[in-house]
């Protein structure tokens, strides 16, 4: 058993109690509508994620996958519709929602070029409002999970794109979120990196979390999928 697995046993997510009380979906998107410059992107989209599952959403470039994820993450607001994670509304209880949900945006942005791997994780642990002892434990676990221990003192601008992606994933999963939103997470990862991600996703699901994985059509992850959907004309349909 890895250290990452060991430490996971000791931590209880802040909303675990809520999870026990709130039956049903971990994430619920209801009739979400969003347009950009008058162009409808999402048109009454519904989605429900159950604990312990991975849902894959595919679709053409520009279909609205990233917009859906940004709304689910609480980054942007829908024009109509509602969303909640374990019954928590991101607009009313922002901080509580952010403790539950973690979002990996597509691309290679979101890192500080001149900070080391460890400094990134320390920084993110602190803005996640984790206490000191918990932070230390989670940082070591994240380094092990994504095999970053040897790179821990290396600055980001001296790392390869694949190594940076592993760090982005480690940051995203650092606080052990209940709900993981991944936008094209395999970007720049080699087979080994993809394997580490798969293992981490499976572990999160076995702990009662849920994962929403978005990637272009044809790039379905090699995981047991509860739902396989395609975003088409603003709504989700079975792939």
């Amino acid at each position: 058993m890895s250290a990452a697995t060991d430490t996971r046993q000791h931590r209880r997510a802040p909303a675990d109690e809520d999870s026990a009380r709130a039956p049903g979906a971990l994430l619920q998107l209801c009739a979400i509508t969003r347009s950009y410059a008058g162009r409808p992107v999402l048109s009454g989209l519904d989605l429900s994620l159950q604990a312990g599952t991975v849902t894959w959403v595919g679709g053409r470039n520009g279909a609205g996958k990233t917009t859906m994820l940004r709304i689910a993450a609480g980054l942007i607001e829908p024009h109509a519709g509602s969303l909640s994670a374990l019954g928590i509304d991101p607009r009313r209880h922002r901080a509580r929602y952010q403790r539950l949900v973690s979002f990996l945006p597509a691309g290679d942005r979101g890192l500080y070029a001149r900070l080391s791997v460890r400094r990134h994780l320390e920084f993110c642990a602190r803005i996640s409002m984790l206490d000191a002892a918990e932070s230390r434990e989670l940082i070591e676990a994240a380094l092990l999970t994504f095999e970053l221990s040897e790179l821990s003192e290396r600055r980001v601008d001296r790392m390869s794109m694949g190594q940076r992606q592993r760090l982005r994933l480690a940051i995203t999963m650092l606080s052990r979120p209940r709900l993981l939103l991944l936008d094209e997470p395999l970007t720049s990862l080699d087979a080994e990196g993809a394997g580490l991600l798969r293992a981490a996703v499976e572990r999160l699901c076995s702990d009662g979390g849920a994962v929403l994985w978005c990637s272009p059509t044809g790039e379905q992850p090699d995981l047991e999928l509860e739902q396989t959907l395609t975003l088409q004309e603003g709504v989700l349909v079975a792939a």
Binding site: R34, Y36, T67, R70, A73, G74, L75, I76, E77, R94, A95, Q98, R99, V101, S102, F103, P105, G107, R109, G110, L111, Y112, A113, R114, L115, R119, E122, F123, C124, R126, I127, S128, M129, L130, D131, A132, R155, I171
Partner: protein, 265 residues
């Protein structure tokens, strides 16, 4: 406690990044040194009724030079927000339990504290190299006075940061605002030299009061207003404008989330 840890994390991050640029401090100290040298020799030419000797004008302008750095550091906040937007790290701050408003507030700490340090180095250089005489009986009081001044200046940076979140331009108007405040704040010459209507305008901002107070405490310059009046004015600016600026920042972020432009840069 976790809030303090988060503020500290942002401060530590900014210090770490700063220290990776090894020549930056040397460059900033050299800039101060060149400004001091320039104004030392300019002061030899100055014969104004308000200044008994060239040294008294030099003492006046040294505090002004130190305050210009503080002024710049306030208006650095919007540019820092823009850098976060460009790097995609703003999303991480926004989606953290700590939140974007507190993160921006925390982001302002390093430049403000650092400008305080550079101001102290500037004064030290002026003392050592140009024989500036500090009034040691009141100089220690300049530390709380500077802290109050920073609180009064902070909302200006935060308001421009709110504008940056909305329009994505960090430097919109900041350079002319700094230039205008340098004039109205009497950083390089007494406000008394300005036309009457500009003097009235100068009374509406806190930079002149802060600079006057610090000059009085550091080099014993006579003040144009009683020290207590300046302290009250700075306190009022801080008490009224800090909450207003934070509310404006919060509203700008919310507006960006509603319009969807929060992720644009």
């Amino acid at each position: 406690m976790s809030q303090i840890r988060a503020f500290n994390a942002v401060l530590r991050r900014d210090l770490t990044v700063y220290l990776t640029y090894r020549t930056r401090l040397v460059s900033q100290v050299l800039t101060s040194l060149f400004s001091l040298t320039l104004f030392y020799y300019v002061s030899r030419l100055v014969h104004l009724s308000g200044f008994a000797t060239p040294d008294s004008y030099f003492a006046f302008v040294v505090v002004g030079i130190a305050m210009v750095g503080v002024l710049y550091s306030c208006f650095q906040i919007p540019e820092l927000v823009r850098q976060e937007l460009l790097a995609g790290t703003f999303e991480r701050l926004l989606l953290s339990p700590f939140g974007a408003v507190r993160s921006i507030l925390a982001m302002s700490l390093f430049p403000l504290i650092f400008s305080f340090l550079i101001a102290a180095i500037t004064l030290a250089l002026a003392c050592v190299l140009f024989a500036l005489h500090l009034d040691w009986s009141t100089a220690p009081l300049s530390i709380p006075a500077m802290a109050l001044a920073l609180l009064a200046f902070l909302p200006f940076g935060l308001l421009f940061a709110a504008l940056t979140v909305l329009v994505k331009q960090g430097s919109v108007g900041t350079s002319w605002v700094i230039a205008l405040l340098s004039i109205l704040g009497g950083l390089y010459f007494p406000v008394a030299l300005l036309p009457h209507w500009l003097r009235d305008l100068a009374a509406l901002q806190p930079f002149g009061s802060a600079t006057g107070l610090l000059r009085h405490l550091l080099v014993g310059s006579p003040t144009s207003e009683p020290a207590l009046h300046a302290i009250l004015k700075l306190s009022l600016f801080a008490a009224i404008l800090v909450p207003l600026a934070l509310a404006a920042l919060s509203a700008a972020i919310r507006a960006g989330q509603r319009s969807g432009t929060i992720i644009e840069y």
